[in-house]
């Protein structure tokens, strides 16, 4: 069964595709917008922008360190640079450049990491960004967004361009279910409640929101009514939504396509432990690197499934 099918969603565009369309559409409205690529623009989908505005698209070659600092310099000259690569090459390879050329000087650079998570599939673990959210969140002043579907990816693209300051937008490779229509309100730092519920809360982002919706269906068939929160912004996190979930539903499971440490789970746990401690559970990649394989098979093998979320909810609820 396809992701989202159980909960009744149709398959839509990949978040990277939606980003690419949205970026190209923003070029006239934001004349300062430029792209900086490390020769993967046709994968990250900055290509449509660079083709539409050739003088504003800079492909600096396979040189991520230089790519990020060049973006810092462009921001220093008043541009709004969108610098995109695979999440792992951007965050992991160029982490110090992000720190020193972007975050520390608070430059208005828009970092975009695609091919995040293990759902990239066959290319394998060297290409999987699974530490990226932890790395991005570790830096002061960087807003970190992980949209779940095409509509919110488009809205996140506009939001990051309008935002003053550094941002990180995490995008996926595969097509994902279409969760929202254009009327959905997307604001940095303001979560979306996909489904109301009072017995437990699943907080998820990215691809895992659809899988959480499927888990909610499984649970509702068993008489457990869970809330599903799309926490598309990991930093600054929507504290109010987390606290309400803790108070009103009594337990929280966090689902994300990321390592156990330093991602959304850690961010939610910090709020819960500070504001209103309740039992929590985690569904994520764990503390390991994955492997090559088909995306659905990988998600199954590494436990990123609706069934796993549902069983985790029940276990946490029973504590």
């Amino acid at each position: 069964m396809a992701i989202g099918e159980l909960s009744g969603y149709q398959m839509g565009q990949a978040t990277r595709d939606a980003f690419g369309d949205a970026l190209a559409a923003l070029g006239d409205e934001f004349p300062a917008l430029v792209t900086v690529d490390g020769d993967v623009g046709n994968s990250t989908r900055t290509e449509p922008f660079a083709l539409k505005y050739p003088e504003r698209g800079f492909n600096v070659g396979i040189a991520e360190s230089n790519m990020v600092s060049v973006a810092g310099g462009l921001a220093g000259a008043g541009k709004i640079p969108v610098v995109a690569s695979f999440a792992c090459f951007l965050l992991n390879n160029a982490f110090d450049q992000i720190r020193m050329s972007v975050a520390f000087p608070n430059q208005n650079v828009k970092l975009v990491g695609t091919h995040a998570g293990i759902s990239i599939g066959e290319d394998g673990p060297s290409q999987m960004g699974i530490e990226d959210v932890a790395l991005a969140c570790s830096m002061p002043g960087v807003a970190v967004m992980v949209p779940a579907d095409a509509v919110t990816a488009k809205k996140a693209t506009r939001a990051m361009v309008e935002h003053q300051g550094p941002t990180y937008l995490r995008l996926g490779r595969p097509n994902v279910p279409a969760l929202y229509d254009d009327s959905v309100d997307f604001q940095i730092g303001k979560s979306i409640t996909l489904k109301e519920g009072s017995d437990a809360t699943i907080i998820a982002n990215g691809l895992m929101v659809s899988i959480a919706a499927d888990a909610a269906k499984i649970l509702s068939d068993e008489g457990i009514n869970v809330r599903v929160i799309d926490m598309h912004t990991v930093k600054p996190i929507d504290r109010e939504a987390v606290v309400s979930a803790a108070k009103e539903t009594g337990c929280i499971v966090v689902a994300e396509e990321h390592l156990h440490h330093g991602g959304l789970g850690s961010a939610v746990a910090q709020v819960v432990s500070e504001e209103h401690p309740v039992p929590m559970g985690y569904v994520n990649v764990g503390d390991c690197y994955a492997e090559s394989g088909d995306p659905m098979g990988l998600l199954e093998k590494y436990g990123l499934t609706a069934e796993k979320i549902a069983s985790t909810v029940k276990a946490v609820k029973a504590r």
Binding site: V34, V36, E55, R56, F58, V60, G61, A63, S65, N66, V68, S69, V70, A71, G72, G73, L74, A75, G76, A77, G78, K79, P81, D96, Q97, R99, M100, S101, F104, P105, N106
Partner: protein, 280 residues
């Protein structure tokens, strides 16, 4: 005030260079830490930039979008930058004496958030030239005739990112980008030729598509000439390999200590007095 490139006579610039050296000594000795020798090697080039008609700046409006830019990639040499900016009117010389003190914006490495007029926050070596490439691309995209100068250390050339930036600048034929390699021959633990010898720089950089010059960078006349030539090159990026001596201007004092590298340490009060007397 408006943007202006100050151009002093050569004699006035020689006097200015002496002033910068004294400020560097005073600042770092007052701070009881810092990198005076790394700053002293760069004095002639920095004097040429700020007082030889090259940097169009407005201390009253440091963010003027039409200004020229100077990125100090070898951020540990920031005392030379603070000294030049003070002499150029961004702040008083006295203020720079708070170098490295808690609460002072005169941090141990450049921090643009705390000091208007600083063009890049540096201190993690290797990033300044890339930042300069980005600035140069952005300025050219806006049709501005501003130049971007970036000073790199010779030890810093060991960072692979610098070579990525060299390639990128050549790709985009950035005639508004001028790199200066302050080749003072030393890095933290010893002579650059012993740690990681990347000389000859000009012969390696030219084939990328750069205009190159190699000069005695502690000769003010040569520095001024090289900066003028580099500024006149508009169809490719330009590099000045500025062969200097670390601690130039107070070498006899350093010789006395038996440490001609004298990396990352201030002069004692006593040595500072000797150094100031030597500068004259």
């Amino acid at each position: 005030m408006a943007l202006e490139a100050i151009k002093l006579s050569q004699d006035e610039m020689l006097a200015k260079a002496k002033d910068l050296r004294k400020h560097i000594i005073n600042m770092t000795t007052a701070a009881a830490s810092g990198h005076p020798s790394s700053s002293l090697s760069a004095v002639e080039i920095v004097t040429g930039l700020y007082f030889g008609g090259h940097l169009r700046l407005d201390p009253e409006n440091p963010g003027d979008p039409n200004r020229d830019r100077f990125v100090l990639s070898k951020g540990h040499a920031v005392p030379v930058l603070y000294a030049a900016m003070a002499e150029r009117g961004f702040f008083s010389v006295e203020e720079t004496m708070s170098l490295r003190k808690l609460g002072s914006p005169f941090e141990g490495h450049p921090n643009l958030k705390r000091m208007p007029g600083i063009e890049a926050s540096t201190g993690s070596l290797g990033q300044g030239l890339s930042i300069g490439v980005g600035q140069a691309l952005g300025l050219r995209l806006d049709g501005k005739d501003s130049n971007v100068f970036v000073m790199i250390g010779d030890g810093e050339m060991g960072e692979g990112q610098v070579w990525e930036a060299i390639a990128a600048a050549a790709k985009y034929k950035l005639g508004n980008l001028i790199a200066i390699i302050d080749q003072n021959g030393y890095q933290q633990t010893g002579a650059t030729k012993d740690v990681l010898d990347l000389k000859p720089f000009a012969d390696k950089i030219a084939p990328f598509g750069w205009h190159t010059q190699t000069i005695n960078g502690n000769d003010l006349g040569e520095a001024l000439e090289a900066l003028s030539v580099a500024a006149s090159v508009t169809d490719q990026p330009s590099v000045i390999v500025s062969q200097t001596q670390k601690g130039f201007g107070i070498l006899p004092v350093l010789e006395e200590t038996g440490d001609l590298n004298y990396h990352g340490k201030p002069l004692s009060r006593e040595l500072a007095e000797k150094a100031l007397a030597h500068i004259g």
